[in-house]
């Protein structure tokens, strides 16, 4: 293998990994606070991609306005989902709320199939994102270069919000102890809504970048990324934001490197992701950066 090919694969890995990271943050945040695996996260991501298609293709808005509309619409969808599917079950056993999440996921998938049909829609070309540049024999689209940067910026933003702001402090309190936080006068609903706002907006940003790279938009496009990013979040230690980003990068890189070094196994790329999940659960269930949680008796 030439150095050029290797560098290209490295770039492929970083770009795929950073997309995974971006979506994984959304998973991990909701889990960190509600102890809920938001199975509908991948489908919110899918809806965001459709919003972008509608904004730019059907209403022919310029991309920067579309992105703002996509952000707002996706956040609205995320918060609505929380209100309708999760809030009524706040005091119910954890299992019920998880089933509700799975139901919400199917609802969104089937709604999208019903509304937009299974025919793939082309993601609008945001010219400056899809332009490709060649650096040292490595072809990269601008989206490929921007994605890791956006991911890192989003990570620091999320870390800043959770560690330095008042609402972040409330979030951490809620994640430590739900009941006590409530007793201390923290407005739980507001905290949870904020979490969903952040998670959904990350899904929206992820969808725009994902769509520029993989422009075939179908109702089930969120399923695989959803599962993969969930694995990334578990790998990094679910509930830990930095861990999610780390997990996303590792997963993306592992998938690409499998194809690079073992080309005969290209058909088993998805299997790698699930093998990683199983190994992590067996060896270090708390993930790479996860804290050990002691159950209170």
């Amino acid at each position: 293998m030439t150095l050029e090919t290797f560098l290209q694969q490295l770039a492929n890995g970083i770009s795929l990994g950073s997309l995974y990271s971006l979506i994984a943050i959304g998973y991990t945040m909701v889990y960190g606070i509600l102890r809920l695996i938001n199975f509908a996260h991948g489908d919110i991501f899918m809806m965001a991609a459709y919003f972008m298609v509608f904004g730019m293709v059907n209403f022919s808005l310029p991309w920067y306005i579309s992105i703002i509309i996509v952000l707002i619409a996706t956040i609205a969808l995320g918060v609505l989902l929380e209100r309708v599917a999760y809030k009524p079950l706040r005091d119910a056993p954890r299992m019920s709320i998880m089933i509700s999440a799975i139901g919400a996921s199917f609802l969104l998938e089937n709604l999208a199939t019903y509304l937009f049909t299974g025919v793939p829609k082309g993601f609008p070309d945001i010219t400056f994102l899809t332009n490709s540049v060649t650096i040292a024999g490595v072809s990269l689209s601008v989206a490929t270069i921007i994605t890791p940067v956006v991911t890192i910026v989003c990570l620091f933003l999320v870390l800043f919000i959770t560690n330095k702001t008042k609402i972040g402090m409330a979030m951490r309190a809620v994640s430590k102890d739900f009941e006590t936080a409530r007793l201390m006068g923290i407005k739980i609903n507001r905290v949870i809504s904020t979490t969903f706002i952040i998670g959904s907006s990350l899904a929206a940003v992820g969808a725009v970048l994902w769509g520029s790279k993989y422009p075939s938009i179908i109702p089930l496009m969120g399923v695989m990324p959803g599962l993969k990013c969930f694995i990334a979040a578990v790998l990094g230690g679910i509930g830990n934001t930095t861990g999610a980003v780390l997990g996303g990068f590792i997963l993306g890189m592992a998938e690409i490197m499998l194809v690079t070094f073992l080309p005969a196994l290209t058909g088993y790329r998805d299997a790698i992701a699930f093998i990683i999940l199983i190994v992590v659960l067996l060896v270090k269930p708390t993930g790479l950066l996860g804290e050990k949680v002691t159950d209170k008796v």
Binding site: T2, Q8, G122, S139, S141, Y214, P215, M224, T266, G267
Partner: protein
């Protein structure tokens, strides 16, 4: 508030329960009366999932045929459409529903060989004749007396594409296939065999890569291929996947021709891949500018109006769906009954039937005996006819 909400929720549930019941009650009612004045033909197509786009095109062709020829044996034909969701598991459920619950006398479909193969055994055991429109894998009809098809087969298609690639001066090829998809793997392997045989060089296929259903990232595979610098890439895949492969290949700076199979003749490919779709090569069943029969002429004229600009060209799968329907209708008419075995025998006896996609006879295996494929490319955002290839 909470109580009100739960009350409202349970009310909707109860109501939906009742609507479910009424539907179920209606179905047997029509089927009992169906014995007297309606003949039900099942349409078994993917309307959602990765092949949803192609399935819808084929369904449109079948519906149009039904509009043109609404009656057989003096009774009205009712199409019962089920969605197999491009999924082998769903396919068996869907076809069982057609046979057991809906009581259809014949089945048309499906787009996608994998789902057709999955449904084959059920069709065979129920002795209900089925007519595939565009499922090209040989295994669909193999060892199945009741499965017929209106299109050519993958070994033929693979050979045509290999031939064409070599004619264009290709000496090496790379192949990308979808793991677990009978159509993609089948066609890919037939291409590989033909290409090796025609070049007389076992090393002429420089790379064979597989991907999985719903994969969107092909950069890694394509980077490997780029390093091996083939003269042509053959990537039989669904219309959902194709534009992703094409776009990513071009973004990586791969300039060689990219070729695919019949599934690529779908406006979604051109729409999603945009300018990158220019120059892709595919083989298909039918060309609207070269109608082979009288039936084809009237079909092209009528269907163009029916489409009313919805699609720029008549998709070949719509033409095949149309053919599948009229072939089945013709057989029912000649059988003079709706008995499965009688229809099958009538289908076997089909002789020089004038369809839209040519004159059709069936081989003993139940395949349409066709030896012409149309090769098309994309130019200026349109599918353009290049050549008709006949293989003896």
């Amino acid at each position: 508030m909470k109580r009100l909400l739960s009350l409202a929720l349970s009310a909707t549930m109860v109501i939906s329960l009742f609507t479910g019941c009424t539907k179920q009650e209606q179905a047997p009612a029509t089927s009992t009366s169906g014995d007297s004045d309606v003949i039900k033909i099942g349409v078994f197509e993917p309307l959602t999932g990765e092949n949803g786009g192609g399935g819808l095109q084929e369904l449109d062709g079948i519906k149009y045929a039904n509009k043109m020829y609404p009656e057989v044996l003096g009774k009205k034909v009712e199409l019962v459409v089920v969605d197999n969701k491009s999924d082998k598991g769903e396919a068996t459920t869907a076809v069982t529903r057609l046979i057991e619950k809906e009581g259809v006398v014949a089945i048309i479909g499906s787009y996608g060989s994998g789902v057709s193969i999955a449904a084959g055994d059920i069709i065979k055991n129920a002795k209900i004749p089925a007519m595939g429109a565009s499922c090209t894998n040989p295994m669909v009809t193999q060892g199945n007396d009741f499965y017929f098809r209106a299109c050519f087969l993958d070994p033929f298609q693979g050979e045509v594409m290999a031939n064409y690639a070599i004619q264009q001066g290709a000496k090496t090829a790379a192949v990308i296939m979808q793991n677990g998809d009978d159509y993609s793997v089948g066609l890919g392997n037939f291409f590989i065999n033909s290409f090796k045989k025609l070049t007389g060089n076992d090393a002429s296929v420089v790379d064979i890569s597989e991907f999985q259903v719903n994969d969107t990232d092909f950069n890694a595979i394509l980077t490997n291929i780029k390093a091996k610098n083939p003269d042509v890439i053959f990537a039989p895949s669904s219309a959902t996947t194709a534009p992703l492969i094409i776009k990513q290949a071009r973004a990586l700076g791969i300039t060689c021709p990219i070729m695919g199979g019949d599934t690529w003749e779908n406006p979604a490919v051109v729409e999603v891949a945009g300018a990158d779709a220019e120059g892709i090569v595919l083989s298909t069943f039918f060309d609207e500018n070269d109608p082979a029969t009288e039936e084809a002429k009237s079909f092209v004229e009528g269907y163009k109006k029916e489409l009313a600009g919805k699609e720029p060209i008549i998709p070949a799968v719509a033409a095949l769906g149309y053919d599948a329907y009229i072939l089945m209708l013709d057989a029912i008419e000649r059988a003079g009954s709706t008995d499965g075995v009688a229809i099958r025998d009538a289908l076997n006896a089909t002789k020089d039937f004038e369809g839209v996609t040519g004159v059709i006879n069936f081989t003993p295996e139940g395949d349409a005996d066709k030896n012409i494929a149309v090769i098309k490319t994309v130019k200026g955002g349109q599918f353009v006819y290049i050549d008709s290839v006949e293989v003896k």
